[in-house]
Amino acid sequence: MLDASRFGLPVLTTVLAVITLYMTFFYAAREKVMGDVQRIFYFHAPAGLICFLAFFVTFVASIAYLVTRKKKWDIIGQASTEIGLVLTSIVLVTGPIWARPVWGTYWTWEARLTTTMILWLIYMGYMLVRRYTDDPDQQARFAAVIGVIGFLDVPIVYWSVSWWRGHHPLVLKVSGGEGLEPTMRATFMMGILTYLALYACLMSMRVPLGRAEEDLRWLRQRASEKTSRKVGS
């Protein structure tokens, strides 16, 4: 049976992605200095914004888990971290592709780049701890503690690295740049919307999967208890 609610988000994400791609290549004005290379910005910057959202969701879910001990918060935290890591990886790959022709180098140890890389490492640590902890409750507790500590660290990392060095382009008005040309702005906004839909879409798939994993684990445990009881008697 086709379930409309299960297809809503994937279809929406696909449609938005096609629109954003069209806008990126045909609608948005060509940047004067950087030329077409700049168009990767519509792919890069929204991913950066939404990865912060994802880790923020992990932070909130971690606190909620530690307070309530409800498994669902752990599943949400884990799902959001995984998606956040994918988005951070997109940021880390697209950034250097843009930087090479514009800055003349793939990588500089600049504040946002460095912060993003450290963010990626911290949440990889989160995934590793989950992997290397056997007891499921302990796994959830450890992960939640890292979800809290890691997120608290992000502003301090950013602060410290920008003191240490800095030269990332400030394109948004809020951060002191000159602001975007209207067609670029519209494309950028569409990019954010697309990534937001993608995040929601992946969450709507990953969270039920997490629940199914949890159910399976419970069933396995019951089955093994039953067998051991039979063997015992």
Binding site: I122, G125, L128, V129, T133, F142, A144, I149, L152, W163
Partner: protein, 250 residues
């Protein structure tokens, strides 16, 4: 004695005596945990000497890499010192909970009438003191090996080392407890600790360089770095104090 803190009228603006007394009691308990760990270390000498030899060895290896006979120690030295301090620190954090595993001491510690946060503070203090002892022996030795005037920069250097060691131990104590209960704790601990401690390491190297060159560490950019490191200390000691119970819980 009344175990509960007596109600204190807030309007009078008086210092809440009960709260102060409770605080002092908690501090005394944390000191007990710290004394226990230091006593174990003093009798077994399992950790501090090994840490010292390891960090000395790191200095020797870095010396071959950078050749300080030709380079000024004050430019590369701060980074070398902090690599040595932090690498040997990692050993301490792993060890602090390994000693609790022997004879299932951790269960005893958890059965004791202590808050998890109090155990954390005691362990943090013991870990910090262990690392500070190694640093206090390694620094004079580095002055001899790399020929700089330690006496002239001792006071600012001591402050820098103290502030950054405490922050490093704040996270190290928490992650050490976590790593002790995972399968690959030996590798998880440095991954977690070093990624979270990046701001502290930047600040440590910058302010140590300032201290070694004889600049004032309280003014200008060094002052700002020290401020940041102190904020880091407070934020993570608080966060770890509050979350420690979830880490040591069975």
């Amino acid at each position: 004695m009344n175990a509960r803190a007596p109600a204190v009228s807030i309007e009078s603006g008086a210092v809440p005596v009960g709260a102060l007394r409770a605080l002092r009691r908690e501090a005394a308990k944390a000191l007990l945990v710290c004394r226990k760990d230091l006593a174990i270390e003093w009798r077994s000498l399992d950790n501090v000497p090994a840490m010292f030899f390891f960090s000395l060895l790191l200095l020797v290896i870095f010396n071959f890499g950078f050749d300080f006979a030709n380079a000024d120690f004050r430019t590369l030295g701060p980074a070398v010192l902090w690599v040595a301090f932090s690498f040997s620190g990692v050993l301490t954090f792993g060890h602090a909970f390994a000693i609790e595993r022997d004879g299932d001491c951790i269960s005893g510690l958890m059965l004791a009438p202590l808050d998890a946060g109090t155990v954390y503070l005691g362990k943090l203090l013991a870990n910090s003191i262990s690392i500070l002892i190694v640093e206090a022996t390694l620094l004079p030795l580095s002055a001899v090996l790399f020929d700089y005037d330690l006496a002239a920069v001792a006071a600012p250097l001591a402050l820098v080392v103290l502030v950054h060691t405490i922050g490093f131990a704040a996270n190290g104590t928490l992650f050490g407890a976590m790593a002790a209960r995972t399968r690959r704790g030996d590798v998880l601990l440095p991954i977690l600790l070093f990624s979270v401690s990046v701001p502290l390491m930047i600040s440590a190297v910058k302010t140590t360089a300032a201290a070694l060159t004889g600049e004032s560490i309280l003014a200008g950019s060094s002052g700002a770095w020290l401020m940041m490191a102190s904020i880091f200390d407070v934020v993570f000691i608080t966060a770890a104090y509050l979350t420690f119970e979830f880490v040591i819980e069975e």
